[in-house]
Amino acid sequence: MSAVDLESVFTFRGREVSIYELGTYAVIGLCLVLFGFPLYWMFISSVKPVAAITNFPPEFIPRDVTFAAYDRLFTETGYLTWLKNSIIVSVGDVVFSVLLATLAGYALTRYEIPAKKWIARIFIFGYMFPILTLGVPYYLIFQRLGMLNTLPALIIAHTAVILPFSTWIMWQFFQTVPISLEEASWVYGASRIRGMFEVALPSAVPGIVAVAIFAFTIGWSDFTFALLLLSTPEQQVLTLGIQGFMQALQIYWGNLMAASAGLVIPPLIVVLLLNRYILAGFTVRAE
């Protein structure tokens, strides 16, 4: 038994509240502050004038708002190039993994394939690989192939991380799509391929979106592989470029916060618009 009875009730603003309920509100409130404040601080620091950033006492609500930091990023640094590269890599990751994982997921649930048990185990195992176990050999392999400092090399490296789990998601999703629907379409004369595209695929859309979000998140956020494989400035991606700002002798916090805000906004939009698909991908993993 607990020392304090969590059910003990006392009155708060004319309403009866238990300690358990109070604890719930305390945790939620604390979470909102602890998780929200760093992001809020990033965004307002990115729109403060340079002098106001290091002022004490700090301005919790900026007195003057300026977009000068963003302007400096776009005109004086390689930010736009890095942004373009990040977009190319993320889109490449998404297209590549959605295509391969969908085919595999369909095949694994619709056909007799030998050693399915081992495919399942090896893919789940592949999802847990230490990134440097792959990264060191990649560096030397791409050096040999003359592919260091190229975006395709980065996409290939990301695929190693994305593909096993994407296949896993699609495998589980296609299982929830009853095969009887396809069989019905064959009875009506549809071919196997047509049955796949017009019956099975539309029902698996939530899985495909979950895979796309997963692939995008890895591609957009990855720092380690970019650090290993890209070094020339014009081939860098956003995460790497931002880290470069931190290595400088003089750190320009305003620029750094503006650059990070640009990095955070796309995933933020994904979360707000597509959160139910993310949960779908996660529940697959959890069950």
């Binding site: 038994m1 059910e7 979470c31 006492p57 230490p130 030397l140 290993l228 931002i242 955070v264």
Partner: protein, 312 residues
């Protein structure tokens, strides 16, 4: 016995399987072939090449010479290597413990908090989805000794008189662990919350009518139900935290004085700081073997093939 049956029996006797390759199976193999090929190219071959590399010495792909196990011998005889194992384990255990405690606490609160649940749930995804680089950069600013808001707050409250160097000696490991928890506790929250919501509410009603306190209900109803997912979460997070590179590198680069140099950081330094790729590969190969042992244990308790209903 029909002809077909006899062929199948014969096949089974020869290949020890009752699977009979039919025409549509070939179609299935064609569909899955791209994934298997890519997996072999991007994962199996590099891992094998990495193991091969660990038996060589040289500064680039073109100038490798065979050295047998001398890279491993060198590691076993060097203090930094053992330090890095210890630091890596410390970071992983501390991180996972913190993330599980915070994650379960937040999941319980969210499960009990029904207002605006969909928007609240969307918001909790945010830390998990945003890039580690952005998190590291913001924490570096907020924890800065001179201009950081956290030091300013602590001074205002009167807890300290001078700014603390949160990335310096004594503090760096704690900072890295808590910054990691800021992001990865959410992984625990999401999985545990999903399981909490699937618990039959009648069980709580029954416990209540039998006079169980809230704490007792947690022990007798909640805990048994989330036990399996907790195990899965602890295992996965342990593996991932032990292998974590980006958060540590971005915040401390393994410093100060090697305080946060985990095995991964050491491998990176050996490989890309000193260009001794053989030593780096030896370290990552050892990590791979450790993962392998973990993986066997993992598959004993969690069978991925059951999740996808593989027909035996």
């Amino acid at each position: 016995m029909s002809l077909r049956q006899s062929i199948e029996t014969d096949f089974r006797r020869r290949f020890g399987t009752n699977r009979f390759l039919k025409q549509y199976d070939l179609e299935g193999m064609l569909l899955i072939a791209p994934v298997i090929t890519v997996f072999i190219l991007v994962t199996v071959i590099p891992v094998a090449y990495g193991i091969w590399l660990s038996l060589h010495t040289g500064r680039g792909a073109a100038e490798l010479t065979w050295t047998g196990f001398s890279n491993y011998q060198g590691l076993v005889e060097s203090q930094p290597f053992f330090d890095s194992i210890w630091v890596g384990l410390y970071y992983a255990v501390y991180s996972v413990a913190l993330q599980v405690v915070l994650g379960v606490l937040i999941a319980l609160a969210l499960n009990n908090f029904t207002r605006f649940s969909s928007i609240v749930r969307a918001i909790i995804f945010v830390p998990y989805m945003i890039p580690t680089v952005a998190i590291a950069v913001v924490f570096k600013m907020m924890l800065n000794t001179d201009i950081g808001i956290i030091n300013w707050l602590l001074i205002q409250i009167g807890l300290i008189e001078q700014g603390i160097n949160f990335l310096g000696l004594d503090w760096a490991m704690h900072t890295v662990v808590w910054a990691s928890a800021w992001k990865w506790s959410i992984f625990v929250v999401i999985l545990v919350l999903a399981r909490l919501q699937s618990i039959d509410q009648n069980l709580y009603e029954m416990a209540k009518t039998n006079g169980a306190s809230t704490f007792r209900q947690f022990l007798d109803v909640t805990y048994p139900n989330i036990k399996s997912v907790l195990f899965l979460v602890i295992l996965l997070r342990s593996i991932w935290m032990f292998n974590k590179f980006d958060m540590i590198w971005l915040l401390t680069q393994g410093g100060p004085l090697g305080d946060t140099t985990t095995m991964v950081i050491l491998a990176y330094r050996r490989g890309f700081g000193e260009f001794s790729f053989g030593t780096a590969s030896a370290i990552t190969t050892i990590m791979f073997l450790m993962l392998f042992v973990f993986g066997i244990y993992y598959f004993r308790t969690f069978r991925p093939e059951d999740e996808v209903e593989v027909r035996q």
